[in-house]
């Protein structure tokens, strides 16, 4: 009797700890969930452009760029072109300009978000300043490249896509 009860209590405590762990497991699960459903427009990691992709010349998708700077970050940050028209499959490069008007060296990290969220799955970056932290000395400015293409399998109803970057100041972990 006692051992049986002992066992049950152990199982229940284990379940409680398991669920505590599950709470943490929701973090990676959520990322997977976001990736599948395009929730929050999180974009994926770096991919390699496959030259054999057929470019769908008949379709044009407008890609719009937005840049914003988080509080506490003195940098200026803007896209050099505000929007481009691309065909699905076409490999394009655009640039964002950052300037650090302060006198100190600062490290920044840009975080992307795509709207509509579903489009995020079809937006592939082959090169992006957002993969790394960017360091800029005081008074300097630079142009940061973004190379991307849109997956030709993108649904027909997506004709316009907005890519937004928010720039945060971070403690360097370069």
């Amino acid at each position: 009797m006692t051992t049986k009860r002992h066992q049950q209590v152990s199982y229940l405590i284990l379940l409680a700890f398991g669920m505590f762990g599950f709470g943490y497991a929701l973090v990676p699960l959520y990322d997977v969930f976001c990736e599948i459903t395009g929730l929050n427009g999180k974009t994926g990691d770096q991919v390699v452009y496959d030259e054999s992709i057929t470019v769908d010349e008949n379709r044009k998708i407008t890609v719009e760029f937005i840049a914003q700077v988080n509080r506490g970050m003195p940098w200026e940050f803007e896209p050099l072109v505000k929007r481009v028209e691309v065909s699905p499959g076409e490999h394009r490069i655009v640039s964002f300009r950052v300037a650090n008007p302060s006198t100190e060296q600062i490290v920044g990290q840009a975080v992307p978000s795509v709207a509509p969220g579903l489009a995020a799955n079809y937006f592939h970056k082959t090169e992006c300043f957002c993969f790394n932290q960017q360091m800029l000395a005081g008074g300097m400015s630079m142009d940061m490249p973004l190379k991307f293409y849109i997956d030709p399998t993108i649904p027909d109803d997506i004709k316009r896509l907005t890519l937004s970057y928010t720039l945060y100041q971070v403690q360097a972990t370069l």
Binding site: G72, T162, T166
Partner: protein, 384 residues
């Protein structure tokens, strides 16, 4: 006995009150029908749902009250003993199922429409800030903040020891009025990109049936096509800190010609304001002028967090503060760029150089501080 009939009476009355009041067209008692096709279909769904639940309520509560009346001990001294019937259980599992279909099917088709943001004519970026909205007309190079325009004196009349104001004195649009409205043309598909600068806000205009959370670091989409000109008011609907109740949304819908005119005026205004700011920055300001402007800027922008007398609150005290009494560079930096991980926002884009110079001077030479230096608009202008 009489008490028992009163319970029925009361419950029925409460319910009937709900029915009568809810189905009337008066928006004061019911959801607004709104001015877009989407909002009208949302309203229709709301009405349908209401009729369905009222129908269910009448049947279910009717049966219950009949039972309370007819199956009381005084009328029915010997209770029946049945306690099972699989058939009936199956029937009342299936019926709600079917009723739910009547809600789910139209909701699905409207939801699909709501999510179709393609082919928009105009894109507006909406950014939630503590506690104001920022609108950016992405195609037009026009952007501005939209602040509550109801005065603090009105809001705090009673709290600050005065008399409570009458509804007339508060005004029809009390807490639902702003300095700069979002102006939009009618009959155009307008796409909103919604995001936030600090914490989560939510942008709600009941007349458009749009409520979208503004989430820092991420953008959300919504769209509308307004059918009628007019002024439409809403509020922030996600708790975003102290003044969550004080950041209304006001949209002014105008005809397309008026919109074009408004854009032109706004651009002209922007050029003139920039010129005025430039000229102001060229001048050398005396202390009185800086302090006067500084006080008004302080009260409008700083006092809500730092206290009217600099005593602190959500934000640190200004009185005796290390930053305020320290070197000007650090002081300018924090006002310019804000402070990450705190409620201190960036004012660089919100204020002109003269305003920043004035408020800094005011903070350093009033509110219990006495640094003694003057900061000139030119000092700020050269840092831009």
């Amino acid at each position: 006995m009489s008490l028992k009939s009163k319970v029925k009476g009361l419950c029925l009355l409460t319910f009937a009150m709900g029915v009568n009041a809810s189905v009337s067209a008066d928006t004061r008692y019911n959801m607004t029908e709104g001015v877009t096709d989407i909002s009208k279909s949302v309203f229709q769904m709301h009405q349908n749902a209401l009729y369905i639940v009222i129908g269910i309520g009448v049947v279910v509560f009717g049966a219950m009250f009949y039972s309370i009346y007819a199956h009381r001990k005084s009328k029915n001294p010997t209770p029946a003993q049945f306690h099972e019937s699989t058939t009936i259980e199956i029937i009342w599992t299936i019926i709600p199922f079917i009723l739910l279909m009547f809600l789910a099917v139209p909701a699905t088709s409207t939801l699909i429409k709501m999510y179709d943001t393609s082919d928009a004519d105009i894109t507006i970026k909406i950014t939630g800030w503590q506690w104001k909205w920022h609108y950016d007309y992405l195609d037009e190079e026009i952007e501005f903040f939209s602040n509550l325009s109801t005065s603090q004196q009105k809001i705090r009349a009673k709290l600050d020891g005065g008399e409570a104001l009458s509804y007339q004195e508060l005004g029809e649009n009390y807490l639902l009025e702003v300095d700069n409205e979002l102006v939009l043309p009618i009959n155009k598909k307008i796409r909103f990109l919604v995001t936030a600068e600090d914490v989560i806000h939510s942008w709600w205009v009941p007349d458009f049936a749009i409520k979208r959370d503004a989430i820092p670091g991420f953008i959300n989409e919504a769209w509308t096509k307004i059918n009628e000109p007019g002024t439409y008011r809403g509020q922030c609907t996600e708790l975003c800190g102290k003044d969550h109740g004080f950041m209304p949304v006001v949209v002014k819908a105008v005809t397309e010609e008026e919109y074009v005119q408004w854009l032109a005026d706004k651009k002209q205004e922007k050029i003139e304001a920039a010129e005025a700011a430039r000229l102001a920055a060229l001048q050398s300001w005396d202390k009185t002028k800086l302090m006067t402007l500084g006080q008004s800027v302080y009260e409008a922008k700083c006092a809500m967090c730092h206290g009217v007398n600099g005593e602190g609150g959500i934000g640190n005290a200004i009185t005796g503060s290390v930053v305020t009494n320290g070197p000007t560079d650090a002081h300018i930096d924090i006002v310019f760029n804000g402070k990450a991980g705190s409620a201190m926002q960036a004012f660089k884009a919100q204020l002109t150089s003269a305003e920043i110079a004035a408020v800094l001077t005011y903070q350093r030479n009033a509110l219990g501080n006495n640094v003694g230096d003057l900061i000139q608009p030119a000092d700020i202008e050269k840092l831009r």
